[in-house]
Amino acid sequence: MEKAISTMRFYEEQMRIWDPLNECMGREELAMLQFTRLRDTLNRAYRNVPCYQNKFRSLGLVPEDIKGLSDLPLIPFTTKEDLRLNYPYGMFAVPLREVVRIHSSSGTTGKPTVVGYTRHDLNTWSELVARFMTAAGVTEDDIVHIAFGYGLFTGAFGLHYGAERIGASVIPMSSGNTDKQLMIMQDYRSTAVVCTPSYAMTMADRMEKLGIDPASLALKVGLFGAEPWSEEMRREIEQRLGIIATDNYGLSEVMGPGIAGECLHRCGMHIFEDHFIAEIIDPETGEVLPSGATGELVLTSITKEAFPMLRYRTRDITRLDYTPCACGRTHVRMKKTMGRSDDMLIIKGVNVFPTQIEEVLFQVEGCEPHYQLVIEREGTMDTLEVQVEVNEAIFFDEMKKQRAFVDLLEKRLFSALGVGARVKLVEPSSMPRHEGKAKRVIDRRHL
């Protein structure tokens, strides 16, 4: 009985909502709020950002033409290329004197993208991070261990200010030095950890090596983001670290973490729609897709002062779910991102992402996902070959077992992709690796 009461109390605690007024707003009221805010943002962006003004003018459009949310598709897209062309401050909608913080996106290809925040923007950012941290069960009693790198990258500061807003105790660990991370975790009794999902795996590996029992730590929840990860990986992290692993979503260009985050029902990340309008488009045609369709996520910020984003093409492929969530929040949920629209392959007319293949390989125990996809066209038919590097865990001395393994992979790939793939086992290290990153796709169809 006592146990039942404490469990109940635990759930009540965990199911807190940071800002119920806004997070549980009726959808009609939300739409009205969105439009008012969109109109203000449009006016400011049009007035202060030449890039937006030029885009509108070239279409013969003025902000007044947007008379309702349904006119949103009239607004031209903003792309990474626009940000690059206006580097460093060209997209800012306020004078630099009003900007109190500057961050940037990673800039893996060429120059990074510079983004700015006014004092009001920082306040909004902290509030939104506080929302998803609360949704993941973090409270003022928690000790939040932040293992994102502090610097230009938005991750660490975003989570830091959000955790402080909740009133939690923040340990600004920054990234790297895993042994030290684990020591601090043990000594300071960290209860929540913030990092990338892959770093969580690195920590779990190291703990195993050092013989640290996860049960001896005080950790109970992990807030993971900044890279796509699979449900398989979630299960593995949860099991190996003995925590609840939650997902959150953000893009430096749009704000950083705090665009969307999971509640404890973990059925998609609630997008904080009172600050961002989300659309799903066909990445090929740019057409807005009907509710529930899978496609590229497009985001419009409707409260940001320094760096407003109008219909920003995120390149992330996902799906939106408008069905009500058991947590009481009314905001739409986005599924884990399936990949990037720039990585998407169309094989026999079916959309295929390398990450889907990675997930299948990951599920097969011991199979490190060193793989390569080779797509060819025989006549008018596309063929997909998945080359998987053999390692000791998936090498069997008996031919029938080795064949059965190939058959299993082929069956799993077919059910995951919806298109047949031939699996070819290859010797280790037979795939070229460039700067540590393997080239995953060889498409010979257009040669």
């Binding site: 053999v390 090498f395 001395d397 064949r403 010797e427 037979s430």
Partner: protein, 143 residues
């Protein structure tokens, strides 16, 4: 009574088999028996060598995927129905043979066959109980 065998994954492309023998030769390893099972894509090369551990580490260093398994070396009378007699013993003992191949050397008047069983202990028990000669590892490596 068991014999150590190494198995190597090789892609079916020219030169790989030669590469394996080159790696072994350079490491001073002598091959006693071998068998190659292959499909159109890949093959599994199985070897009995004089220095198993040395062979394994040399191949691993050469980038090959290698595993070690235990097999049983059986003396087979070198006459008609010699092999039949042994297979018949195994069959009666309900011992399942995964695969088998012949040894290169002869042992006195007998040929030597390598067997891979899913239950080697049981197989050895059945064979010896029926008077079939099973060779020890040390004997095989130095033949």
């Amino acid at each position: 009574m068991k014999v150590e065998q190494i198995s190597i994954f090789i892609e079916n492309k020219s030169g790989r088999l030669a590469e394996v023998t080159h790696v072994l030769g350079t490491a001073g390893v002598n091959i006693r028996a071998l068998s190659l099972a292959d499909t159109s894509d890949f093959g599994i090369l199985r070897l009995i060598v004089d220095k198993t551990d040395q062979a394994k580490s040399a191949l691993k260093a050469g980038g090959f995927t290698v595993s070690k398994t235990e097999v049983v070396a059986v003396e087979v009378p070198d006459r008609p129905l010699g092999l039949y007699g042994i297979l018949e013993v195994l069959d009666r003992g309900k011992v399942n043979v995964e695969y088998m191949y012949a040894f290169v050397e002869r042992c006195g008047g007998n040929a030597v066959i390598i067997f891979r069983f899913d239950n080697p202990e049981e197989a050895i028990r059945v064979l010896t109980a029926n008077g079939v000669g099973v060779l020890a590892g040390e004997r095989v490596y130095s033949m």
